[in-house]
Symmetry: C2
Subunit: 133 residues, 2 copies
Protein backbone atom coordinates (compact mmCIF):
# COMPACT_ATOMS: atom_id res chain seq x y z
CA UNK A 1 0.00 0.00 0.00
CA UNK A 2 1.50 3.36 -0.91
CA UNK A 3 2.18 6.04 1.74
CA UNK A 4 -0.73 8.27 0.67
CA UNK A 5 -3.17 5.35 0.99
CA UNK A 6 -1.73 4.52 4.42
CA UNK A 7 -2.38 8.09 5.61
CA UNK A 8 -5.86 8.10 4.07
CA UNK A 9 -6.63 4.84 5.90
CA UNK A 10 -5.32 6.36 9.16
CA UNK A 11 -7.55 9.42 8.77
CA UNK A 12 -10.49 7.13 7.98
CA UNK A 13 -9.81 5.26 11.22
CA UNK A 14 -10.01 8.57 13.12
CA UNK A 15 -13.29 9.36 11.37
CA UNK A 16 -14.69 6.01 12.55
CA UNK A 17 -13.28 6.55 16.08
CA UNK A 18 -11.61 3.15 15.49
CA UNK A 19 -8.98 3.28 18.21
CA UNK A 20 -7.71 -0.23 17.49
CA UNK A 21 -7.08 0.65 13.84
CA UNK A 22 -5.48 3.97 14.79
CA UNK A 23 -3.07 2.23 17.15
CA UNK A 24 -2.36 -0.57 14.66
CA UNK A 25 -1.04 2.04 12.20
CA UNK A 26 1.66 3.28 14.61
CA UNK A 27 5.26 2.09 14.64
CA UNK A 28 6.63 1.09 18.07
CA UNK A 29 9.04 4.06 17.90
CA UNK A 30 6.47 6.57 16.60
CA UNK A 31 6.87 10.22 17.51
CA UNK A 32 3.64 12.27 17.59
CA UNK A 33 4.23 16.00 17.65
CA UNK A 34 1.47 18.56 17.80
CA UNK A 35 3.91 21.34 17.00
CA UNK A 36 2.66 23.86 19.60
CA UNK A 37 3.03 21.14 22.28
CA UNK A 38 5.85 18.79 23.29
CA UNK A 39 6.40 15.67 21.16
CA UNK A 40 5.25 12.30 22.51
CA UNK A 41 7.49 9.29 21.86
CA UNK A 42 6.67 5.60 21.59
CA UNK A 43 3.53 3.73 20.60
CA UNK A 44 2.32 3.15 24.18
CA UNK A 45 2.60 6.82 25.15
CA UNK A 46 1.07 8.04 21.88
CA UNK A 47 -1.80 5.56 22.17
CA UNK A 48 -2.51 6.84 25.69
CA UNK A 49 -2.63 10.46 24.46
CA UNK A 50 -4.98 9.45 21.65
CA UNK A 51 -7.26 7.45 23.96
CA UNK A 52 -7.41 10.36 26.42
CA UNK A 53 -8.23 12.73 23.58
CA UNK A 54 -10.93 10.53 22.07
CA UNK A 55 -12.55 10.14 25.49
CA UNK A 56 -13.56 13.81 25.11
CA UNK A 57 -14.64 13.56 21.46
CA UNK A 58 -17.89 11.94 20.40
CA UNK A 59 -17.02 12.07 16.71
CA UNK A 60 -14.26 13.10 14.31
CA UNK A 61 -14.87 14.39 10.81
CA UNK A 62 -11.48 15.26 9.37
CA UNK A 63 -11.61 16.66 5.86
CA UNK A 64 -8.47 16.30 3.77
CA UNK A 65 -8.22 19.22 1.35
CA UNK A 66 -4.87 18.24 -0.17
CA UNK A 67 -2.48 15.34 0.21
CA UNK A 68 0.86 14.80 -1.52
CA UNK A 69 3.81 12.49 -1.04
CA UNK A 70 7.51 12.68 -1.65
CA UNK A 71 8.69 9.10 -1.21
CA UNK A 72 7.75 7.95 2.31
CA UNK A 73 6.81 11.47 3.50
CA UNK A 74 3.15 12.45 3.17
CA UNK A 75 1.99 16.05 3.61
CA UNK A 76 -1.65 16.91 4.28
CA UNK A 77 -3.79 20.03 4.48
CA UNK A 78 -6.94 19.40 6.50
CA UNK A 79 -9.80 20.76 8.53
CA UNK A 80 -10.18 18.54 11.59
CA UNK A 81 -13.77 18.77 12.80
CA UNK A 82 -14.89 17.24 16.08
CA UNK A 83 -18.10 16.78 17.95
CA UNK A 84 -17.06 16.94 21.58
CA UNK A 85 -18.56 14.77 24.29
CA UNK A 86 -20.51 17.82 25.55
CA UNK A 87 -22.08 18.36 22.12
CA UNK A 88 -19.85 21.29 21.18
CA UNK A 89 -18.66 21.42 17.54
CA UNK A 90 -14.98 22.23 16.96
CA UNK A 91 -12.98 22.76 13.78
CA UNK A 92 -9.22 23.26 13.59
CA UNK A 93 -7.33 24.11 10.41
CA UNK A 94 -4.28 21.87 10.25
CA UNK A 95 -1.40 20.82 8.08
CA UNK A 96 0.35 17.60 9.01
CA UNK A 97 3.31 15.52 7.91
CA UNK A 98 3.42 11.74 8.21
CA UNK A 99 6.54 9.63 7.71
CA UNK A 100 5.77 6.05 6.71
CA UNK A 101 8.17 3.11 7.22
CA UNK A 102 8.70 0.43 4.58
CA UNK A 103 6.23 -1.80 6.45
CA UNK A 104 3.54 0.88 6.18
CA UNK A 105 3.60 1.98 9.83
CA UNK A 106 3.70 5.63 10.87
CA UNK A 107 7.05 6.59 12.42
CA UNK A 108 6.54 10.35 12.68
CA UNK A 109 3.44 12.52 12.76
CA UNK A 110 3.72 16.31 13.02
CA UNK A 111 0.60 18.53 13.01
CA UNK A 112 0.85 22.32 12.58
CA UNK A 113 -1.99 24.54 13.78
CA UNK A 114 -2.67 27.71 15.72
CA UNK A 115 -2.89 26.91 19.43
CA UNK A 116 -5.17 29.93 19.94
CA UNK A 117 -7.65 28.51 17.40
CA UNK A 118 -7.43 25.07 18.98
CA UNK A 119 -8.06 26.41 22.50
CA UNK A 120 -10.96 28.56 21.28
CA UNK A 121 -12.55 25.71 19.31
CA UNK A 122 -12.26 23.30 22.23
CA UNK A 123 -13.65 25.88 24.66
CA UNK A 124 -10.41 26.04 26.66
CA UNK A 125 -9.87 29.78 26.27
CA UNK A 126 -12.01 30.98 29.15
CA UNK A 127 -14.38 32.64 26.66
CA UNK A 128 -17.05 30.53 24.99
CA UNK A 129 -15.34 27.81 26.97
CA UNK A 130 -18.09 28.38 29.50
CA UNK A 131 -20.06 26.08 27.21
CA UNK A 132 -17.82 23.24 28.38
CA UNK A 133 -19.14 23.34 31.94
Amino acid sequence: MDPIKQVEAFISAWNRCDIAQIEAALDEAVIYHNIPLEPVSGKAAVAEVIRDFLAGAAACNWETHHIAANGPVVLTERTDRFTLANGREAAVRVMGTFEIAADGLITYWRDYFDSVEMMREFGMDGGDGAALT
Copy 2:
Protein backbone atom coordinates in the same frame (compact mmCIF):
# COMPACT_ATOMS: atom_id res chain seq x y z
CA MET B 1 8.97 24.66 -14.81
CA ASP B 2 7.17 22.25 -12.54
CA PRO B 3 5.20 23.46 -9.51
CA ILE B 4 7.77 22.23 -6.95
CA LYS B 5 10.55 24.14 -8.76
CA GLN B 6 8.34 27.26 -8.84
CA VAL B 7 7.88 27.10 -5.07
CA GLU B 8 11.58 26.42 -4.50
CA ALA B 9 12.41 29.48 -6.62
CA PHE B 10 9.90 31.55 -4.63
CA ILE B 11 11.47 30.50 -1.32
CA SER B 12 14.93 31.27 -2.75
CA ALA B 13 13.70 34.77 -3.62
CA TRP B 14 12.64 35.24 0.03
CA ASN B 15 16.05 34.04 1.16
CA ARG B 16 17.70 36.67 -1.05
CA CYS B 17 15.19 39.36 0.12
CA ASP B 18 14.53 39.78 -3.61
CA ILE B 19 11.23 41.66 -3.43
CA ALA B 20 10.98 42.08 -7.21
CA GLN B 21 11.30 38.33 -7.75
CA ILE B 22 8.86 37.58 -4.94
CA GLU B 23 6.26 39.89 -6.49
CA ALA B 24 6.90 38.56 -10.00
CA ALA B 25 5.89 35.09 -8.82
CA LEU B 26 2.40 36.22 -7.75
CA ASP B 27 -0.72 35.97 -9.89
CA GLU B 28 -2.83 39.16 -10.12
CA ALA B 29 -5.62 37.36 -8.22
CA VAL B 30 -3.36 35.75 -5.61
CA ILE B 31 -4.75 35.09 -2.14
CA TYR B 32 -2.19 35.04 0.69
CA HIS B 33 -3.52 33.54 3.88
CA ASN B 34 -1.51 33.27 7.07
CA ILE B 35 -4.11 30.97 8.59
CA PRO B 36 -4.24 32.61 12.06
CA LEU B 37 -4.84 35.99 10.33
CA GLU B 38 -7.28 37.21 7.69
CA PRO B 39 -6.53 36.38 4.04
CA VAL B 40 -5.16 39.15 1.80
CA SER B 41 -6.44 39.25 -1.80
CA GLY B 42 -4.84 40.59 -4.97
CA LYS B 43 -1.24 41.07 -6.01
CA ALA B 44 -1.07 44.76 -5.04
CA ALA B 45 -2.36 44.16 -1.52
CA VAL B 46 -0.21 41.06 -1.00
CA ALA B 47 2.89 42.88 -2.28
CA GLU B 48 2.23 45.68 0.20
CA VAL B 49 1.97 43.21 3.10
CA ILE B 50 5.22 41.55 2.01
CA ARG B 51 7.05 44.88 1.62
CA ASP B 52 5.85 45.99 5.07
CA PHE B 53 6.97 42.69 6.53
CA LEU B 54 10.39 42.73 4.88
CA ALA B 55 10.97 46.29 6.11
CA GLY B 56 11.27 44.73 9.58
CA ALA B 57 13.41 41.76 8.54
CA ALA B 58 17.10 42.10 7.72
CA ALA B 59 17.38 38.56 6.40
CA CYS B 60 15.31 35.44 5.75
CA ASN B 61 16.66 31.92 5.99
CA TRP B 62 13.76 29.60 5.32
CA GLU B 63 14.65 25.93 5.50
CA THR B 64 12.42 23.54 3.58
CA HIS B 65 12.31 20.17 5.36
CA HIS B 66 9.85 18.51 3.00
CA ILE B 67 8.12 19.47 -0.21
CA ALA B 68 5.62 17.44 -2.24
CA ALA B 69 3.19 18.15 -5.05
CA ASN B 70 -0.11 16.76 -6.19
CA GLY B 71 -0.61 18.31 -9.63
CA PRO B 72 -0.55 22.11 -9.26
CA VAL B 73 -0.75 22.01 -5.43
CA VAL B 74 2.56 22.08 -3.55
CA LEU B 75 2.77 21.34 0.17
CA THR B 76 5.80 22.36 2.24
CA GLU B 77 7.09 21.78 5.76
CA ARG B 78 9.54 24.49 6.77
CA THR B 79 11.32 26.38 9.50
CA ASP B 80 11.20 30.08 8.57
CA ARG B 81 14.15 31.81 10.24
CA PHE B 82 14.52 35.58 10.23
CA THR B 83 17.05 38.10 11.37
CA LEU B 84 14.95 41.09 12.34
CA ALA B 85 15.96 44.67 11.69
CA ASN B 86 16.77 45.03 15.42
CA GLY B 87 19.15 42.04 15.28
CA ARG B 88 16.77 39.63 16.98
CA GLU B 89 16.75 36.06 15.57
CA ALA B 90 13.33 34.47 15.03
CA ALA B 91 12.30 30.99 13.91
CA VAL B 92 8.76 29.86 13.17
CA ARG B 93 7.77 26.28 12.37
CA VAL B 94 5.44 26.38 9.38
CA MET B 95 3.61 24.23 6.90
CA GLY B 96 2.36 25.94 3.77
CA THR B 97 0.36 25.15 0.66
CA PHE B 98 0.94 26.85 -2.70
CA GLU B 99 -1.38 26.57 -5.68
CA ILE B 100 0.35 27.20 -9.00
CA ALA B 101 -1.42 28.29 -12.18
CA ALA B 102 -0.59 26.85 -15.60
CA ASP B 103 1.62 29.88 -16.27
CA GLY B 104 3.65 29.17 -13.14
CA LEU B 105 2.29 32.02 -11.01
CA ILE B 106 1.12 31.54 -7.43
CA THR B 107 -2.65 31.87 -7.08
CA TYR B 108 -3.01 30.75 -3.45
CA TRP B 109 -0.60 30.63 -0.54
CA ARG B 110 -1.70 29.36 2.85
CA ASP B 111 0.75 29.13 5.79
CA TYR B 112 -0.14 27.24 8.98
CA PHE B 113 1.70 28.06 12.22
CA ASP B 114 1.10 28.73 15.87
CA SER B 115 0.36 32.42 16.40
CA VAL B 116 1.72 32.19 19.97
CA GLU B 117 5.07 30.95 18.62
CA MET B 118 5.10 33.66 15.96
CA MET B 119 4.37 36.43 18.47
CA ARG B 120 7.00 35.10 20.88
CA GLU B 121 9.66 34.76 18.18
CA PHE B 122 8.99 38.25 16.84
CA GLY B 123 9.03 39.74 20.34
CA MET B 124 5.38 40.80 20.16
CA ASP B 125 4.23 38.88 23.24
CA GLY B 126 5.11 41.45 25.88
CA GLY B 127 7.70 39.05 27.31
CA ASP B 128 11.14 38.88 25.72
CA GLY B 129 9.53 41.34 23.35
CA ALA B 130 11.21 43.97 25.49
CA ALA B 131 14.21 43.23 23.28
CA LEU B 132 12.34 44.94 20.44
CA THR B 133 12.43 48.35 22.06
